[in-house]
Symmetry: C2
Subunit: 321 residues, 2 copies
């Protein structure tokens, strides 16, 4: 058994290799650059951990781990174009560094490279992993589509937002875990539990992310507080607040969303607090986190083997804020 | 055995189905729209024909045929963004019709859908088809990258141009044929011959396309003559002409490429004719076409079975211009 730290180190080291040929440099260098920016490599690590629940890590799992990280980076590369993002993990995004056309094409080839890693799998396991991978890949695109549509829509319900987050973020974590379990020969029930663990963990993580943007300790959070509010980003908190407010507060919130007035962040935060949105978000996050941990609990392997996955969840949910 | 016309009709009818779910409509409707624009469906038809060389068409071949057509359309959809094309087969391109972000994402999901069709394959055949598909997909991206780079470069050699065309256009036709042969249980030698047939046919087709743009009968060609010249497009003819001209003609050609003067097309054409570029191109096209037909000749099956592939090649090379 390996700890979270050990697997994280092992994967990062193995992943630090060339994933593409040298030529044409204009296509492959930007792809290598983007992969080299780093990241927490959560999905491949989760996949390895889920595999190790059921025995030693198999070589197929390392291939899937690579495929998952390549796929994730493909989505980030294309999302950065769509979101007109200038920075990714503090580094220049590919569409600004190398032009938009290169960013599209390097992203495309990154997706194909992900499939090449899958192609290395043991033929007995390939079709079932391939199927879950394809299903998940489509869902992630659907999530991105809903996210873009919601940006332009006046009203988005909480259910719609949760569904979008599930597609855009959670299903890839969930599928990463299930793939590791499948390679490990897990039962259908254990696969489903791990999928459920990842799905709920992903949603809990997003609620927390939205919460911390408003109420986090800036030093711990590592980002400026209130960024989502400034950009009118539809978050768990804003969507819930719009559902709850009425009368003067409703008018005030609407005015704040329409204009960039002084201390907009402070004023929106004060409405959130008045309505108890901060407590509501904490509770909602806890509900999803509890559900996630319950799913992990229900995986039928001895408790000690679950330590690394529990550590991963605790790390993601930083429950000390 | 089916004729070219029969297979063309059968595939077009089968392909006229919904390939995506209904929701989110903003993602999938543009993808369906683009597939519905039509096209000659050459690659899937070639795959079916190659399969039928060796026996009855198998259900796996229909899945591969779908995957090939989806992949081809994915490349067109993204190429249209990169080339800022406004029309595709006389219809509005997706990035103009639905916005650039949708065009990127609908293209992505089209590539994933191609892989879903491959996922339906018989598990014994899946890994080998998957491998050829991935290799080819990467090569097509490389071809597009070189094409974009050549647009910005002053000088491109004939070898570089042929290599670009091979990657961007030929390998997908070649791989389509090989995949059909693989499903049909063809020997390695027969697979290689069919790949060679497709590769050379693709290059011959492109030389012809470049030739017809300059010297074609406008009524038969269906496009205005001289479009490539007007846009300074690097074609077989221009690249060869730049290699051949000297003295006054060289200066004249360079001036014509730099400025849009009156009767530019006529003047460039007259240089082409003076240098015998028209005859050279015809000869070069014939060389590749002959090589293609020789490869088909060398496929070890009785001659009568090759009729549909020969008809396909004759159709593509419209040798009556």
């Amino acid at each position: 058994m390996h700890s979270f730290q050990e697997l994280s180190k092992q994967f990062s080291e193995k992943f630090q290799t060339k994933h593409f040929p040298y030529q044409p440099e204009g296509l492959y260098e930007p792809a290598e650059y983007f992969l080299g920016i780093g990241g927490k490599r959560i999905r491949p690590i989760a996949c390895l951990m889920a595999n190790e629940l059921f025995g030693d890590i198999e070589s197929d799992t390392w291939q899937i781990a690579n495929a998952l990280e390549l796929f994730h980076n493909f989505t980030l590369l294309h999302d950065d174009i769509m979101d007109e993002a200038s920075l990714r993990r503090g580094k220049q995004t590919v569409h600004l560094r190398n032009g938009q056309n290169t960013a599209i094409l390097s992203g495309d080839v990154m997706l194909i490279r992900a499939y090449e890693y899958l192609n290395e799998l043991n033929p007995e396991i390939l079709p079932i992993i391939f199927k879950l991978f394809n299903k998940t890949a489509k869902e992630v695109c659907e999530g991105q589509q809903y996210d873009m549509e919601f940006e332009r829509r006046e009203n988005v319900s909480l259910d719609e937002y949760i569904n979008m987050i599930k597609l855009k973020t959670s299903v890839l974590l969930a599928a990463s875990l299930e793939m590791g379990a499948i390679v490990g020969g897990a039962t259908r029930n254990n696969c489903d539990r791990l999928y459920g663990f990842g799905k709920n963990l992903g949603i809990a993580f997003q609620i927390q992310d939205d919460y911390l943007d408003c109420f986090g300790n800036p030093e711990k959070f590592g980002k400026e507080v209130g960024g989502d509010i400034r950009r009118n980003k539809k978050t768990f908190l804003l969507i819930k607040a719009k559902e709850m407010v009425s009368g003067t507060q409703k008018a005030q919130l609407e005015r704040l969303l329409e204009n960039d007035e002084e201390d907009k962040v402070g004023k929106v935060l004060s409405i959130y607090k008045d309505c108890g949105i901060d407590e509501w978000a904490k509770q909602l996050q806890k509900q999803y986190a509890d559900k996630a941990f319950q799913h992990l609990e229900d995986v039928v392997v001895i408790n000690a083997r679950k330590k690394s996955l529990r550590d991963l969840a605790e790390y993601l949910l930083q429950r000390d804020y």
